[in-house]
């Protein structure tokens, strides 16, 4: 029997994140102070991140049937917290300094919503129970509705918020129905319990429908084709730091839970589900890359590219043995870094808030000759997304291809190669735009001292990390290996 103290230590990251949300709320109610809110939020999240270290001492531990806090959960918790911290600092730069011209509405609540959503992400990555999955998912998504529409006086932001809310609600409804069907058939809500009971009785039509609906729901959140239609619009409309949050935290957390579900209940893997996932992966890779080809808006482009990237990740998920879990971990880390970096540059270019984000590609023309280091960051990120050596993205892609080869998924690998070739075209288009000199264009620049602010420092650190991991990935690989999922 574990002592209560151990439970509390194991839950520390989640508890601290929740407490941060409450503290921020109280601080806002007490006195509106932009700087203070920012400091409270980032201090709380940092503390939560640090508390993972003591929590790892008591892992693995089951806290209630819902949460299983093991190395896997803490690894993804750390990813969620790091990404949230990055988004918080970006948002701080984006909204502008307290007393200067900048964002016209209330600024402080953005941090509150980010902290709440991060708590949802933490629940999601450690759950092993359908109820926990649902709670975590809703806690993650509902604040995001508010975040996407945070610049509500901007028509596009509001439209994106409503669109995301409606579609996400529909996705949740599908998922809830799927869970109900699964429960009706198996009599259990735990991942492992479902797997065991279904393995015993074989899968009926109801179970298949349930799993299918669950997949639809998760597919919505991960914006896999054919459930991807909302992605570009929402990414375009959302303020840049929020788009970064949406592309990283919410996707990483959902993918982590999908991985756990897939690994823990064997009944959900194999058979027609694998075929369905294969088709989804192929469709995502092709659709994402092909639709990105003609985008002239960098946020939409990144949206489409994230669809493709989750298609690549599905390749590793389908491989599901050997290197797969490790590959997913590595790929998610590299994806997280690069996406944060790319959206970070967009945020800094648009900061302080100027009514609309600097997201049109022509605004980046010749940026290199004005802001060389910022451009170097974006170049590294684009090359990393394209998977070129010397960047972290290459290691991720290498891992995914390795797990695909190991499981002999030739069709998926073929699609992956075609997708990467197509993808190169638009990543390179962005890169070369940065270096072209076109005199007499409207100049939309990051503040010249961007590198000395929190957002800028964070961005430089991310790009150095992306480069370092591309050259010497061994520390990351060790970390991910230890965070493997212990199959029960």
């Amino acid at each position: 029997m574990q002592s209560t103290q151990q439970y509390i230590i194991a839950l520390l990251p989640l508890l601290i994140t929740g407490a941060t949300a409450i503290a921020v709320m109280l601080a806002i109610a007490w006195r509106r102070h932009y700087g203070l809110t920012f400091i409270v939020t980032s201090a709380g999240l940092t503390l939560a991140l640090l508390s993972i270290v003591p929590a790892l001492q008591v892992a693995p531990l089951d806290v209630t049937p819902m949460l299983r806090l093991d190395a896997f959960a803490y690894f993804y918790s750390a990813l969620v917290l790091v990404a949230t911290l990055a988004c918080v600092t970006l948002a701080h730069a984006y909204l502008g300094e307290a007393d200067s011209e900048g964002f016209p509405g209330n600024r402080e609540e953005l941090f509150l919503l980010l902290a709440l959503s991060a708590a949802g992400g933490l629940v999601l990555v450690s759950t092993q129970h359908l109820a926990g999955l649902f709670i975590g998912l809703e806690l993650l998504s509902v604040p995001v509705y508010g975040l996407v529409a945070y610049a509500f006086f901007n028509r596009r932001s509001l439209e994106a918020g409503v669109k995301y809310m409606v579609l996400s609600g529909a996705g949740s409804a599908f998922m809830l129905f799927g869970m109900a069907l699964l429960y009706a058939e198996s009599g259990s809500l735990g991942f492992a319990g479902i797997g065991a009971s279904l393995a015993a009785q074989g899968s009926s039509l109801l179970v298949q429908a349930g799993i299918g609906m669950l997949l639809v729901g998760l597919g919505f959140k991960l914006s896999l084709a054919p459930f991807h239609l909302w992605t570009p619009d929402v990414y375009e409309g959302a303020p840049a730091p929020v788009a970064a949050f949406l592309a990283t935290v919410s996707k990483v957390a959902v993918f982590a839970v999908l991985l756990r579900l897939y690994q823990l209940s064997p009944a959900t893997s194999g058979g027609w589900l694998n075929d369905a996932l294969t088709l989804i992966a192929i469709a995502s890779i092709l659709m994402g890359n092909l639709l990105a080809l003609n985008q002239s808006n960098i946020k939409r482009l990144l949206g489409y590219s994230s669809i493709a990237h989750f298609g690549y990740l599905l390749v590793a998920l389908i491989a599901s043995k050997g290197l797969a879990v490790e590959a997913i971990g590595v790929y998610l880390v590299t994806y997280l870094l690069t996406t944060l970096g790319a959206f970070g540059v967009v945020s800094l270019m648009s900061s302080p808030y100027k009514g609309r984000d600097a997201d049109a590609l022509y605004e980046y023309r010749g940026l290199f000759w004005r802001r060389p280091y910022l451009t170097a960051v974006l170049t590294v990120m684009m090359l990393s997304l394209a998977g070129i050596p010397l960047t972290a993205g290459f290691i991720g892609k290498f891992y995914v291809i390795a797990s695909g080869v190991q499981s002999q998924l030739w069709w998926l690998l073929g699609t992956l190669i075609i997708g990467s070739a197509v993808g190169l075209f638009y990543y390179l288009r962005v890169v070369v735009t940065l270096y072209l000199v076109e005199p007499g264009l409207h100049r939309h620049d990051a503040p010249s001292n961007w590198g000395q602010r929190a957002g800028g420092i964070m961005l430089l650190a991310i790009s150095v990390l992306a480069f370092f991991l591309g050259v010497y990935p061994q520390p990351l690989l060790d970390l991910v290996q230890h965070a493997g999922l212990a199959v029960l």
Binding site: L390, I401, A421, L428, V432, L477
Partner: protein
């Protein structure tokens, strides 16, 4: 420790070029020049001091003239494994030489963003040196892909735009996508090889020496070999996959063309000799007739298209396709003589193509066109340049006394015993190569003049660059023995692998 420095020197030199640009416009050029001179100097020193009788061969532990090994990514058994033998040494010396020349030939041509230009140039050469030294398949792939990015920038940012405004960017993108996509196919093949080996032996490794001993089923070996072959075929370029080359050459700045024709194409040939043949000898021998037919196709197709071009750089680009066809035949003939001939031809073609591109770059600086229909009669208007062009055109058509002749002759001579018909047909390619080479000279330099007035003569820098190349080409044509000696051991090893594959009773593996 000298080997990592060979790779690091260009990278560091490139960064320095970028940093000093803000102080002085011409400093990057001097730094780049001394970096490349240093690389060339180290290469020559290694040549003088090393023992190039050592090379990998079947049946024994591989010996190398110089070797460097350090753990890199433990998880996959990936090492920073660099090694030098005669073949890599020759290629590195060539890289250093052409590196010096490509810095020199852009001395006047490049005026915008000098530092960043030289950063890209140095990084290409650093990546190429890495390709020539890497003995870990992962490391090899790493450098193979890495050199594409700076080349892309070189073409996209400093290239010449043809008709359309974006044509240089399109050419650069086409180059990048072709090579990157084929590179990924090679990555899949590499991983396939590694996992087959892992399955058999339980050791996860990317090391060349260990993978040489991998035991492959014939069907799998053939597939993996094809994966490597496709990647090399794109860079080579072999005919159905060549269409990026003329575009890239036509739009690239002179230094880019020199590197592309002189060195980048050689990485593919090097990859075949170093990796594709020894790793998959049986499959390669099965595949040899197809590869040789592709070589023949390349010789004739390249020559015919070359003749039809009006753009002088496209003409030279297609002639590269034709010459590389001979190299391909030499590589897949399996005879040691032909393999050594292929190496000489690679070097000779590197020198002559580089010289022709430098000359056409100098022509472009004076006339601002590459269209041969607008040239004509230049012999009377320009001293030096037409005569030098004639020399290199003659070298390119394989005139005895130049390195190209030695290379082509030895390739054909060595292949004749095993595949006489291929050689008989390929010999006619030589006729075509004299047709297009002389046609180029005729169209550009003879005939009626299109405009009056004498053009600026060549200055000392321009003349000496070309004269050095001419001298080396003649030297290679008259005293090729030094090159033959240096590459002998490596080629002997490759030859033994292929021989073992041909005679199934004696298995050296």
């Amino acid at each position: 420790m000298i080997l990592p420095w060979l790779i690091l020197i260009p990278f560091i030199g490139g960064l320095l070029c970028w940093f000093v640009e803000r102080f002085d416009k011409s400093m990057p050029r001097w730094i780049a020049l001394s970096t490349m001179a240093l690389l060339l100097g180290i290469g020559l020193w290694l040549w003088a001091s090393g023992n190039y009788q050592l090379a990998p061969a079947p049946g024994a532990e591989a010996d190398w003239a110089v070797q460097f090994k350090h753990v890199w990514i433990e998880r996959f058994g990936i090492n920073l494994h660099l090694a030098l033998d005669g073949l890599s040494l020759l290629m590195i010396v060539l890289t250093g030489l052409l590196g010096v020349l490509s810095v020199l030939c852009s001395w006047k041509e490049i005026q915008r963003h000098v530092g960043f230009f030289h950063l890209n140039l140095m990084w290409i050469l650093g990546g190429v040196v890495g390709v020539f030294l890497a003995l870990d398949l992962f490391l090899f792939f790493f450098f193979w892909e890495m050199m594409l990015v700076p080349m892309y920038f070189l073409i996209a940012l400093w290239g010449h735009s043809g008709e359309g405004k974006r044509s240089r960017i399109n050419a650069a993108t086409k180059f990048f996508i072709y090579t990157q996509a084929s590179g990924l196919i090679m990555l899949v093949a590499i991983l396939g090889l590694v996992f087959v080996n892992y399955h058999n032996t339980g050791v996860l490794t990317f090391d060349y020496e260990l993978l040489l001993k991998a035991d492959l089923a014939p069907g799998i070996e053939y597939l993996l070999m094809l994966g490597f072959f496709i990647a090399f075929a794109v860079k080579f370029p072999i005919v159905p996959l060549h269409s990026w080359l003329p575009d890239a050459h036509a739009q690239a700045p002179t230094a880019g063309s020199v590197d592309l024709a002189g060195i980048l194409l050689k990485t593919a040939a090097y990859g075949m000799i170093r990796f594709a043949l020894p790793l998959f000898p049986e499959a390669s021998m099965d595949f040899a007739p197809i590869a040789m037919s592709l070589g023949l196709l390349g010789i004739f197709y390249g020559a015919l298209l070359s003749f039809a071009q009006t753009d002088i750089k496209r003409l030279i680009a297609y002639s590269s396709v034709s010459h590389m066809g001979f190299v391909l035949i030499g590589i897949y003939s399996g005879s040691q003589l032909a393999l050594q001939g292929a190496v000489v031809l690679m070097i000779a073609h590197g020198l002559s193509a580089a010289a022709l591109f430098i000359l056409s770059g100098q022509l472009y600086e004076r006339l601002h066109t590459r269209d041969m229909r607008e040239m004509g009669g230049l012999w009377s208007r320009l001293p030096w340049l037409p005569a030098l062009s004639l020399f290199f055109a003659a070298a390119s058509l394989g005139l005895p006394g130049t390195g190209n002749f030695i290379g082509e002759f030895v390739v054909l001579f060595g292949s004749f015993a095993d595949s006489p018909w291929v050689v008989v047909i390929a010999t006619f390619g030589l006729v075509l190569s004299s047709v297009y080479s002389l046609a180029m000279i005729h169209r550009a330099y003879f005939g009626p003049t299109k405009a009056e007035g004498v053009l600026d003569g060549l200055d000392a820098r321009e003349v000496s660059m070309v004269l050095v190349l001419a001298l080396l080409l003649v030297l290679l044509g008259i005293f090729p023995q030094q090159v033959f000696d240096t590459s002998h051991a490596t080629m002997n090893g490759v030859h033994q692998w292929l021989d073992a594959a041909l005679s199934p009773s004696v298995s050296a593996r």
